[in-house]
Amino acid sequence: MKHARVMYEGREYTGTSHEFGGHPDAAVRLSDGRVIFQDLLTWLPPLAPTPRPRTILALGLNYADHAKELEFKAPEEPLVFIKGENTLTGHRQLTRRPGNVQFMHYECELTIVVGKTASKVKRDDAHDFIAGYTIANDYAIRDYLENWYRPNLRVKNRDTCTPLGPWLVDAADIADPMALALQTTVNGKVTQSGNTKDMIFGVGFLIEYFSSFMTLQPGDLILTGTPDGVVDCRPGDVVVTSIEGLGDLINTIE
């Protein structure tokens, strides 16, 4: 099942993906039973509220080809940073490009949504602690990179610079999260394509690694990094990050 959270007629609803006219995911069946087309909804990140702020872990350089593109050797342990909830926004929303910057790029990332409290979990058991998966577009503005706790928060913690969604897809519906095709288009042209099989540190490893020193809670997120093929995006560009089985996350740069 693909779950959404949306605003419609001024109210927040949960809902599920609904096929229309042969197009899967074309609409959402709201919790009250009405079926509404995607573009009539205001989309929120597909996440239930958490009692405490959710922890948003994100990987850098987690695909060998992207590490090479950025002129780094593949890391021997995960390069991880943390993001605040201020950075999240939903499907079909706007993300701002600051004035006077030269290089703002998307990053299409498989995102793990934690389903159960996880402490000292072994990688073979990791699946039991995952509620599902979604797509993150983890934008970066490279002009602001500094070599202090890099990638620094000025690059990675900007408001609305992490579109998330459209759906939370139940883990049971994804047979193998380590064999999903990823693709990004900018204004309809394919600029990034890859596959989660090329991750350096995979889903099971990451659950084991993080839960070895920090307890993960339901609703926490792990953004697993992006493959090769990032390009500069300008105001007005429509950026669609897609992952096999998870849908198409649409974002427009303003």
């Binding site: 922890t55 943390i82 605040g84 500094e146 070599n147 408001d159 020193f213 920090m214």
Partner: protein
């Protein structure tokens, strides 16, 4: 009930002049290649939060932890500061500040949080804040918040240039050079005029 953060908790590196001066000779060298321009921040996620009096577990592989005693701003509405809270920001000592410090700073329990928020209208000018760190009753560090690189209002403005701090978010002012070390069995008391003492005992992690 102890006060607890409702939003994201941000820490600030290199916001004391002595801390900046000590690192200055390395700043032009790799991997840094330049002094930092924007505030250098990190996040202490909810798994790190410990209330006053809680025992904090230290992994057996870590002989000592660094005590980052500080005072944090708690955000209210419209970017105003609602108040201030004492914090004990623990880290596994690390010499390099090149990569984000998640594995050093985000262990369960590694942020002690003061029992009460001191409301901003009772706190006065944050540059007048002083605190002391005592380990097993002995004074180990005195911190003077007139020595900040970016005083509280400047730090807020410079962070606000690139991200929004929402009501409930927390931003630490920084911890000074000379952060004391402590080990399992030690008792840490952080005292500051106007604040209730923040105390923790470190315990060896049980398997």
């Amino acid at each position: 009930m102890s006060w607890m953060p409702e939003g994201t908790v941000y820490g600030t590196l290199l916001n004391f002049r002595a801390e900046m001066a000590a690192l200055a000779p390395q700043m032009a060298q790799p991997p840094y290649k330049a002094a930092p321009k924007a505030p250098v921040l990190y996040i202490k996620p909810a798994n790190t939060w410990s209330t006053h009096g809680e025992s904090i577990a230290v992994p057996g592989r870590v002989p000592e932890v660094e005590i980052g005693a500080t005072i944090a701003m708690v955000m209210g509405a419209q970017g105003q500061v609602a108040g201030y809270v004492l914090m004990n920001d623990l880290s596994i000592p690390h010499a390099s500040y090149f990569r984000p410090p998640v594995k050093f700073k985000c262990l369960d329990g590694f942020l002690g949080i003061g029992e009460r928020m001191l409301p901003a209208d009772q706190a006065g000018d944050p540059s007048a804040f002083r605190l002391e760190v005592h380990i097993n009753g002995a004074l180990k560090q005195s911190v003077d918040f007139s020595q900040l690189v970016r005083p509280a209002a400047q730090l807020l403005a410079d962070v606000g240039e690139f991200m929004t701090l929402h009501a409930g978010d927390v931003l630490m002012l920084g911890s000074d050079l000379g952060r004391p070390l402590a080990k399992a069995g030690d008792r840490i008391d952080i005292t500051a005029p106007g604040f209730r003492t923040l105390s923790h005992t470190l315990a060896e992690e049980t398997a």
